[in-house]
C-alpha cells in the first residue's frame, strides 16, 4: 500500500470549517497571511466563525467581518499596520455586532502554548494587574496566587482552535512544510489546533524534504490537508517569494473606510470563482512586480 497524499482541493479542505468553528491563521501583519484560504472561506459562505489570531493580525479578520463570516474575535492587534485602523473591525466593535475578547501578544503565545502541551490553563505574569485586561475580560484573565511564593499571577484558558489555516512557500504532499522567512507562531498554532490545513505556493517533491530535513519547519504529522494556492498570501507577502502589494492594500483600506468593502468583495472574491481567477483579476504584471527573486 502506498502512502496517502494529503493534497486536496480548497473545497474539500475547507469543508471542515462548519458554522461556529474557531479558526487560527498565520500572519505577522502582512507576512504569510493565508488570504487565498480566506477568500475560499468567503466564497463557501463561512459563518459564525471565532477567530483566534496571531499577535499582529488585521487584513484577513477585517475582510471576514465585512463578508459576514465572523461571530467572535480574540483581539491582540487587529489593524492594517501602515494602512491604518481596520475599518470593518472598528465599525463592528463600535456597534457591538461582533463579540470581542481582548487578549494580547504575550497571552496569545502563552495561551497557544498551554493548548499545544495540553495544559489546563496558561500562566501569565503579575503585570497584567496593571492593565485593564482583567477588568474588561474576566472570562480570560483570572488572578491566582503563586503556590510557591504567594505572589499574584494570572491564569488564562488555553487557546485551542478547531482549525488552523497556515500559509507556506513550500510543502510536500505529506504536509512537511518550510517557512523560508520569519516564524510567526505557525508551529505553535499547529500544535495547539485540532485540525491543520496548509496552503502553499508550491508542492515540492518528498525527496527534496528527505534530502534536507532540517529545513522542514512544520512536520507533516501535525498536518491534515495540503492545498496548493499560488500567490495565496496576496495582497500580503510570502517570505522569499513576493512582497506585500502596498497599492492593493491601500485600495482595500480606502474602500473599507468608505464603507465599500462589499464592492471589493464582489470584484475580487465572489466575482472570481477560484484562486486562479483571482490571480487573473490582479494581473500577471502586478504579481510579477512583487516578486523578491
Amino acid at each position: 500500500m502506498s502512502r496517502k497524499s494529503k493534497v486536496t482541493t480548497p473545497q474539500e479542505a475547507f469543508k471542515v470549517v462548519a458554522p461556529g468553528t474557531s479558526i487560527a491563521m498565520t500572519c505577522a501583519h502582512y507576512s504569510s497571511v493565508p488570504m487565498g484560504g480566506m477568500r475560499e472561506l468567503i466564497r463557501m459562505g463561512a459563518k459564525d466563525l471565532t477567530i483566534i489570531p496571531t499577535p499582529s493580525a488585521g487584513l484577513a479578520i477585517d475582510l471576514l467581518i465585512a463578508a459576514g463570516c465572523v461571530k467572535k474575535v480574540f483581539a491582540s492587534y487587529v489593524g492594517l499596520e501602515f494602512a491604518g485602523l481596520a475599518p470593518n473591525y472598528r465599525r463592528a466593535a463600535e456597534q457591538g455586532t461582533v463579540e470581542i475578547s481582548d487578549i494580547d501578544e504575550t497571552s496569545i503565545v502563552l495561551g497557544y502554548r498551554a493548548a499545544a502541551t495540553g495544559l489546563p490553563f496558561a500562566l501569565l505574569p503579575a503585570f497584567y494587574k496593571l492593565t485593564d485586561l482583567p477588568r474588561i475580560n474576566p472570562a480570560m484573565f483570572r488572578e491566582i496566587k503563586d503556590p510557591f511564593t504567594g505572589k499574584i499571577c494570572y491564569a488564562m484558558p488555553p487557546l485551542k482552535p478547531d482549525v488552523a489555516i497556515l500559509h507556506f512557500p513550500q510543502c510536500d504532499a505529506y504536509g512537511n512544510a518550510r517557512q523560508l522567512g520569519g516564524h510567526h507562531t505557525e508551529l505553535l498554532i499547529a500544535k495547539a489546533s485540532d485540525h491543520v490545513i496548509v496552503t502553499t505556493e508550491e508542492i515540492i517533491p518528498h525527496e527534496e524534504v528527505m534530502a534536507d530535513p532540517v529545513r522542514t519547519t512544520l512536520p507533516g504529522i501535525l498536518v491534515d490537508s495540503v492545498v496548493k494556492l499560488p500567490y495565496g498570501a496576496h495582497p500580503g507577502s510570502c517570505p522569499a517569494r513576493y512582497s506585500y502589494d502596498e497599492q492593493h492594500i491601500l485600495e482595500y483600506a480606502r474602500l473599507a473606510r468608505e464603507g465599500k468593502t462589499r464592492d471589493y468583495i464582489a470584484k475580487y472574491i465572489t466575482g472570481t470563482k477560484d484562486n486562479a481567477a483571482y490571480l487573473d483579476a490582479i494581473g500577471a504584471s502586478r504579481l510579477m512586480a512583487l516578486r523578491i527573486n
Binding site: 505577522a28 501583519h29 502582512y30 507576512s31 496571531t54 499577535p55 499582529s56 488585521g58 483581539a75 491582540s76 492587534y77 487587529v78 489593524g79 499596520e81 501602515f82 485602523l85 481596520a86 473591525y89 472598528r90 466593535a93 463600535e94 456597534q95 457591538g96 481582548d102 487578549i103 494580547d104 501578544e105 504575550t106 503565545v109 502563552l110 497557544y112 502554548r113 505574569p125 503579575a126 503585570f127 497584567y128 494587574k129 496593571l130 492593565t131 485593564d132 485586561l133 474588561i136 499574584i152 522567512g181 520569519g182 516564524h183 510567526h184 507562531t185 508551529l187 505553535l188 507577502s237 517570505p239 522569499a240 512582497s243 506585500y244 502596498e246 523578491i292
Partner: protein, 263 residues
C-alpha cells in the same frame, strides 16, 4: 551647523537615536519607521554594539540598507544574524532582557500610561475602537520604554487614558513597582512632532524637556490635554546635525519614508 531642512520625523528619529546606548538591546514593533531609523542611526554613529530585534520579521540586527514600512517585512532578515520565532521573541521580552522598546498609542496620559484598546467609557460600545493591546503590557517588562507619537493632539495626550493597555507609572504611586518584571523602570521619554518630554522622578509625571525649533510653549500647552510640568528654562530640541542628516538621507532612508510619515 544646524540644519533647518529636515522633516519632523527625522528630528524625532535623531532624538531617539541619541538616547539609545551602545551595547543595549532594543525591541521594535509594528509600523515602527521612526524607531527602526533611530536604531540604524545609533548603530552608524555612537552605538555600533546596539542590538535590536525587528519584531514580526524575527530578525536580530537587520542590516537592510534602507527603511521599510513594516518591522514585520521579510526584507528585515537581510544581513541579520538570526531569525527568531515570534514565541522566542516573546520569551526574551517577557523575561525582561530588553533594555528598551518604543511605543505609540491612541491615548497617552501624563503618567505615561498607554491605551490601544478603545476611546470612550462604554467598553462594549466605544466611541472609537483601537487595534488592541498587542505587546503593550510588555511596557512592564522592558527596562525602559520610549513613547513616540506622530500626532500631538489633546485627544491623544490626555489627563487619564480610558483604558490601560501598557502601564506607565499607573497612578504615579510606587504601587506599580511590585507588579512589574524586575528592573522595569517605566517610560523614559515621550517624543512628539512638537516636543520631547521626560518624567519627573518624584511625581512620575511628564515634564517638558525640549521644544522643537519654531514651537512656542503656548502652542504646546494648547495642544496637550494635560498640564505637563514645565521647568523654568526649556531648551530647544537640538536639530539633526550634518552627519545625522547625511546618514538619514543617503544611507538609512533613501526612499524618504520618514519625510512622508508626518505631514
Amino acid at each position: 551647523m544646524a540644519n533647518t531642512d529636515y522633516a519632523v520625523a527625522e528630528l524625532m528619529a535623531c532624538v531617539m537615536a541619541r538616547d539609545f546606548k551602545d551595547g543595549e538591546l532594543g525591541a521594535m514593533g509594528a509600523a515602527s519607521q521612526i524607531p527602526m531609523a533611530a536604531a540604524k542611526l545609533a548603530r552608524a554613529t555612537h552605538a555600533p554594539n546596539l542590538n535590536w530585534l525587528s519584531g514580526g520579521s524575527g530578525a536580530i540586527n537587520s542590516k537592510l540598507p534602507y527603511l521599510v514600512q513594516s518591522a514585520a517585512d521579510y526584507r528585515n532578515l537581510f544581513g541579520a544574524e538570526c531569525r527568531l520565532s515570534m514565541e522566542d521573541i516573546v520569551d526574551i521580552e517577557v523575561r525582561g532582557r530588553c533594555d528598551f522598546s518604543c511605543y505609540g498609542a491612541i491615548q497617552v496620559d501624563k503618567h505615561g500610561n498607554l491605551n490601544m484598546l478603545a476611546v470612550g467609557g462604554d467598553y462594549k460600545h466605544p466611541k472609537m475602537r483601537g487595534p488592541g493591546s498587542v505587546g503593550l503590557s510588555l511596557s512592564a517588562a522592558f527596562q525602559r520604554f520610549y513613547i513616540y507619537l506622530t500626532h500631538h493632539d489633546p485627544r491623544i495626550l490626555v489627563e487619564k487614558v480610558d483604558y490601560i493597555s501598557g502601564p506607565g507609572f499607573c497612578d504615579g504611586t510606587p504601587e506599580r513597582d511590585q507588579y512589574v518584571q524586575p528592573g522595569a523602570n517605566g517610560p523614559c521619554l515621550c517624543i512628539t512632532p512638537l516636543a520631547v518630554f521626560d518624567f519627573d522622578e518624584k511625581k512620575r509625571e511628564m515634564r517638558l524637556k525640549s521644544l522643537h525649533p519654531g514651537v512656542s510653549l503656548d502652542t504646546l500647552l494648547s495642544r496637550t490635554g494635560f498640564k505637563p510640568i514645565v521647568p523654568a528654562r526649556v531648551p530647544e530640541t537640538e536639530p539633526p546635525n550634518d552627519a545625522e542628516m547625511r546618514l538619514l538621507r543617503e544611507v538609512i532612508d533613501r526612499e524618504g519614508i520618514l519625510r512622508r510619515l508626518i505631514r
